[in-house]
Assembly symmetry: C2
Homo-oligomer: 209 residues x 2
């Protein structure tokens, strides 16, 4: 088993934090996205979508997409549960994880990829080149602001994003918040519930993974 990883990118961090919370250690191979290692013929043979993370199982199966890799380890190493403790809780966790990904993580990705000079011609991950759309970067920054406010309302009600227990929804939200720093956006001081949560989840050892 091997994880194709890159420490400079947010998506594989979602998996690393998840593994750290589970106490799982597996071999990794660094794919330097800054140097374009994802576009080599060797890596395209691993993942034609040219993204990390990729989990390679011993039977050769390759699992791409961070949430799918987490799903694998939740099934093989159920403790501690990070994707819900029963049917209802699993659905609540999936809801918040998906929302944090779409409204937080993806909004930050759109803001960054459509504005950063080094992303010119690569406004979406993958093998196809797409031109940047500056108006999308601006709109996405507004979305990120609304995401912070949504997080704050949510975290006024519970200790963690999906309820009283730490879950994969916290991981996606944490990585989205860190990622937002790259477009100079941060949880506003006024969002004190989200600030409290961010301090707490950032202080867990897994956050350094």
């Amino acid at each position: 088993m091997k994880l194709y990883d890159f420490h400079g990118a947010p998506s594989p961090k979602r998996v690393r934090v998840f593994l750290a919370e589970k106490g799982i250690e597996i071999p990794t191979e660094e794919v330097n996205l800054r140097e374009g290692a994802q576009n080599t013929p060797e890596f395209r043979a691993v993942n034609p979508s040219c993204t990390v993370p990729v989990l390679e199982l011993d039977d050769g199966t390759r699992i791409c997409e961070a949430i799918a890799i987490c799903r694998y380890f939740e099934a093989t190493t159920p403790e501690p549960p990070l994707m819900g403790i029963d049917a209802r809780d699993a659905a609540v966790v999936a809801m918040w994880e998906h929302r944090c990904e779409q409204d937080g993580y993806m909004a930050v990705a759109d803001a960054l990829r459509n504005s950063a000079p080094r992303m010119k011609g690569r406004a979406l991950p993958g093998p196809v080149g797409y031109e940047q759309i500056p108006a999308l970067a601006e709109r996405s920054k507004v979305r990120v602001g609304h995401f912070f406010e949504m997080l704050d309302r949510r975290l006024a009600m519970d200790a963690f994003v999906a309820g009283p227990r730490y879950s994969v929804a916290d991981i996606t939200a944490l990585v989205a918040v860190e990622f937002a720093g790259r477009v100079d956006l941060a949880i506003p001081e006024s969002c004190r519930h989200a600030q409290r949560w961010h301090r707490e989840v950032s202080a867990r050892p897994s956050a350094a993974a």
Copy 2:
């Protein structure tokens, strides 16, 4: 238990097809998105994100996001399995479902919402008004074309999107393909594997849900 639904929108269809495959029938309430019923104070109290589908459980818990609702029913009604039969398969299904959602379904949504006159000022779902970005509509149409090609390469290898068994990944892909019709995009004739798959999944009784 009740499902807030709307027959004119693609997202709740993902849940309806899933329920039909499971043979589950539950009460539904139609929320007419065309008439703005998602923005009324009554519905905002149900889902502040102003989207359907929403599953309301008997204890009052509300599950939003199509994939989270599917997750609930997969746990409570495991047969037939639509989200994988073991850890490896569950991860493979989750990977393809996520990819079809991001590269297919979301690309179509961006294409439609950033171009349709009736979506003016509502380029993203939810309570916040966002202006349309015509360049994003155009870029998204290109993405949908690449999605069809990706589907075709995938379906050259297996009967269904995530392997030899019908799964939730087929449902997301099917709804994305149907949704693409609204921006006048269809699987090209040259994508004969994707065409074959589309004929087969469209012929299942669940496709009419």
